[in-house]
């Protein structure tokens, strides 16, 4: 083929007249123009990609940052003995009998006295209407305090309570006086009070650690929902994934790469591993439901089951990465080891594996990051709902008792009715992204630091 064209071109009469290298002929100009065009296409593609990235990140940050701030109201609550401890003996069992409903009147009284000190009048006939300014979790906050400090009954204690989600939305600009007109959860009179209380410093917006560390909350108090418990759930799941998929994955790939005979069976296994990496994750969820919950009778919604399902998903990724990095170790290392009398196993474990370790770790971390962000399989094993409400009491409890995971919690928040959950969903995405960025950064650092080239 090349011979033929070369022969043809020599046979043709020379048509080019210009011989100077400084003045390109038309054909060269065309080729150069094509190259310039291609560069421009590439630039356009990259900038479209960048534009979307910037758009995505700015939307996430713009919507999510509000979730990290929360409005608090400072209230002095008088812990009346006749309400909280009728017998006066501070017996914990007696104290527990007073439910959160018994604490509500104390908070109403505290709010009223707060208004008095500010020179305001209570515009509401019903006492509980005034309490709509505060989170529905306020009585529980006071009750928990009393149960922990029974000796403080009778005193007046200052509490920093969460404001209700509507009041919080008003300070954040999500709720306006127009939008509140048709809302039965809050009246304009509340907002008038909030305006005055804000000037006096009673109502204040500040950073909310409970969003990062706290438990999920029901729909009557979106202001107190946090992602902390779901984060612990994700952590335990990642422990399971790491503890199972790293040893299994590495052992499988060492065997396949270094010891397995090359035949139809190993070929078949190889093809299937590559195919497994492309299987949609929801399939692993259904498999997990059938095998781990319905057949093996493991508990529902447990991080252990979530971890097992995600292990199945991560294994192919780790095996492929490990095999690639084992392959990248130069054969001369193996041969040298065998040459000085090492057994094949010694050659692998003493020489090949340490050199392949950075690549294996990178693959593992990227596999874990993928598993951390996975939601679909968790839907099927019952990790979405009102679940992440208890901190695990022990390590075993952490694996066994029902919990959610970060992406599942975000999904759940995005579904809920109160618009306050919307900003929390975005805030959760920011936290999840931070984890992913850190994990990927560690993978890059490991690769840069320890990788050797031949």
């Amino acid at each position: 083929m090349t011979d033929a064209t070369a022969g043809a071109s020599t046979a043709q009469p020379r048509t080019r007249t210009s011989t100077s290298l400084l003045t390109p002929d038309s054909r060269t100009r065309r080729r150069n123009a094509a190259e310039r065009r291609f560069k421009i296409y590439g630039l356009i593609a990259v900038s479209i990609g960048l534009l979307f990235l910037v758009l995505l990140l700015s939307t996430i940050i713009f919507n999510g940052l509000r979730g990290f701030q929360q409005t608090f109201v400072t209230v002095n609550v008088e812990l009346l003995e006749e309400k909280l401890d009728k017998n006066g003996n501070r017996d914990p069992a007696d104290l527990r009998k007073v439910s959160t409903f018994g604490y509500a009147p104390l908070i109403d009284a505290a709010l009223e006295s707060k208004l008095e000190t500010l020179g305001l009048e209570n515009p509401f006939a019903k006492a509980s209407d005034l309490r709509k300014m505060l989170s529905a979790g306020a009585p529980a906050q006071v009750r928990d305090f009393v149960l922990e400090n029974p000796d403080r009954i009778g005193e007046t204690v200052t509490f920093r309570m969460l404001a209700s989600s509507r009041v919080d939305g008003y300070l954040k600009g999500r709720v306006t006086r127009e939008s509140i007109e048709r809302d039965k959860n809050l009246d304009a009179a509340h907002l008038d009070l909030v305006d005055v209380m804000r000037e006096s410093g009673t109502v204040r917006k500040s950073f909310n650690w409970d969003f990062i560390l706290g438990a999920d909350a029901s729909e009557s108090r979106p202001e107190s929902a946090g992602i902390g418990v779901a984060m612990i759930g994700s952590f335990y799941m990642m422990l399971v994934v790491l503890g199972l998929s790293l040893p299994i994955g590495v052992a499988a790939s060492i065997y396949l790469e270094e010891f397995a005979p090359k035949n139809r069976i190993t070929d078949f296994i190889e093809v299937n591993i590559s195919n497994l990496a492309a299987v949609p994750s929801i399939v692993f969820g259904i498999l997990g439901l059938a095998v781990f919950i319905q057949f093996a009778h493991l508990p529902q919604s447990a991080p252990l089951v979530g971890g097992l399902v995600l292990t199945l998903m991560t294994l192919p990724t780790i095996i492929i990465a490990t095999r690639a990095s084992l392959k990248a170790v130069s054969p001369s290392i193996r041969e040298a080891a065998l040459g000085v009398g090492a057994s094949r196993m010694q050659a692998v474990f003493h020489h090949v594996l340490p050199l392949a370790a950075p690549g294996i770790l990178t693959g593992t971390i990227i596999g874990l990051a993928q598993a951390l962000g996975e939601t679909a399989p968790l839907l099927l094993i019952g990790m979405v709902g009102f679940i992440a409400s208890n901190y695990p009491e022990s390590i075993v409890d952490g694996f066994m008792s029902p919990n959610s995971a970060m992406p599942a919690q975000i999904f759940e928040w995005a579904k809920r009715a109160d618009p306050a959950y919307y900003e929390r969903a975005w805030g959760g995405i920011i936290i999840l992204l931070c984890f992913l960025v850190v994990m990927n950064a560690i993978a890059i650092i490991l690769r840069r630091r320890f990788e050797r080239r031949w």
Binding site: P299, F349, G385, A417
Partner: protein
């Protein structure tokens, strides 16, 4: 060598912990089912966890049918204790339950929920509907000039001059939702009878049962869209389509009054009062179902059920009512029923 040891011991630990699980007994109540009941159940679960020594129950959603299916999987710690449902359990489901050994079921009615038709706040003036309007808009066959024909309507004003001249587009709950059943029975079927379409079907040679079934169908030309997700999905669709009409629960609407406006049904505006009095026609009872075999086995199950229907929680001044539940006037009967563990 060490690697092999490590992986072997990791496997052993995993196997051990797995067996430890089956031995360890579950100490929290597990609930699943209707996404309409989910917010109420989670409010109760949270208050229960605060006020009792038991851990906070776990509440999952997924729809009434999915929840009852899981409920009926059998008796034992790896099955759920309570199924939430926005409709009563069906005979078929009771039979499926019995087949798997779930025989003693306690049915608890927690209150009533209104179903509302809402549209974009700034969209066309959809402010008043009757069941006939919805039927005329969404049925595959409607009455035009006294004859039953394929639905020719494309605008709401085509069949009712009082409605705005806007394209018909409705987002209705998918078939796995309990809400769909109520929507069909209380709106579509009512409209079918009111417009005379049912009579025409029977006159056309259909048996009464067939006509009733045919009445429940909705048109499939894209003007009626099934939403299988939650109300947030319906809300997102309404946000994107100014002509869209969505079916919501009353509580969801009341949380999103800044985006939605609600339509009256047969002249009655939906509110907890009109639903309690029965004036607002489209409402349904909400239920949960308890596995009696689990009472005494799962700690806190009976206490949770009793707490759920206590006056403090489900009564007219409780947090459930504040969120949008219409409280049941016969609550005390329900309380007694749980106390005596009366099964269906």
């Amino acid at each position: 060598m060490s690697y092999a040891k490590i992986s072997a011991s990791a496997l052993a630990i995993a196997a051990l912990s797995a067996t430890a699980v089956s031995a360890q007994s579950r100490d929290n109540v597990q609930v699943a089912g209707s996404s309409t009941v989910l917010p109420y159940a989670s409010i109760v679960a949270e208050a229960f966890g605060e006020n009792f020594e038991f851990p906070t129950p776990v509440v999952e959603s997924g729809g009434s049918s999915a929840g009852l299916k899981r409920f009926c999987e059998g008796v034992g710690e790896n099955t759920i204790d309570i199924a939430n449902a926005s409709r009563a359990i069906r005979e078929r489901e009771v039979a499926a339950c019995a087949e798997n050994g779930v025989t003693d079921i306690i049915e608890v009615r927690i209150g009533y929920d209104g179903i509302v038709f809402a549209s974009q706040l700034d969209g066309p003036a959809f402010t008043a509907f009757t069941p006939s309007d919805i039927f005329n808009a969404l049925a595959p066959k409607v009455m035009v000039d006294g004859a039953l024909v394929e639905n020719p309507h494309t605008m709401w004003s085509d069949f009712n001059a009082d409605l705005p001249a806007a394209e018909i587009l409705a987002f209705i709950p998918g078939t796995k939702h309990g809400t769909r059943e109520v929507f069909e029975e209380k709106v579509i079927a009512a409209g079918c009878e009111a417009t005379g379409a049912m009579e025409a079907m029977i006159a056309g040679g259909m048996s009464e049962d067939d006509a009733e079934d045919a009445c429940l169908e909705v048109r499939t030309d894209g003007r009626s869209v099934d939403i299988d997700g939650d109300y947030t999905e319906t809300l997102a669709r309404i946000d994107a389509n100014s002509n869209g009409i969505g079916v919501f629960g009353l509580a969801f609407y009341e949380n999103n009054t800044d985006k939605l406006k609600v339509a009256t049904m047969s002249g009655v505006a939906p509110s907890t009062e009109t639903i309690a009095s029965g004036e607002y026609p489209v409402s349904r009872p909400l239920f949960f179902y308890i596995k009696k075999a689990h009472i005494g086995v799962i700690p806190g199950l009976k206490e949770f059920a009793e707490f759920f229907v206590s006056d403090e929680i489900a009564g007219p001044d409780g947090p459930l009512s504040a969120y949008g539940l219409v409280s049941d006037p016969e609550l005390s009967a329900t309380q007694a029923m749980i106390a005596n563990e009366e099964t269906m």
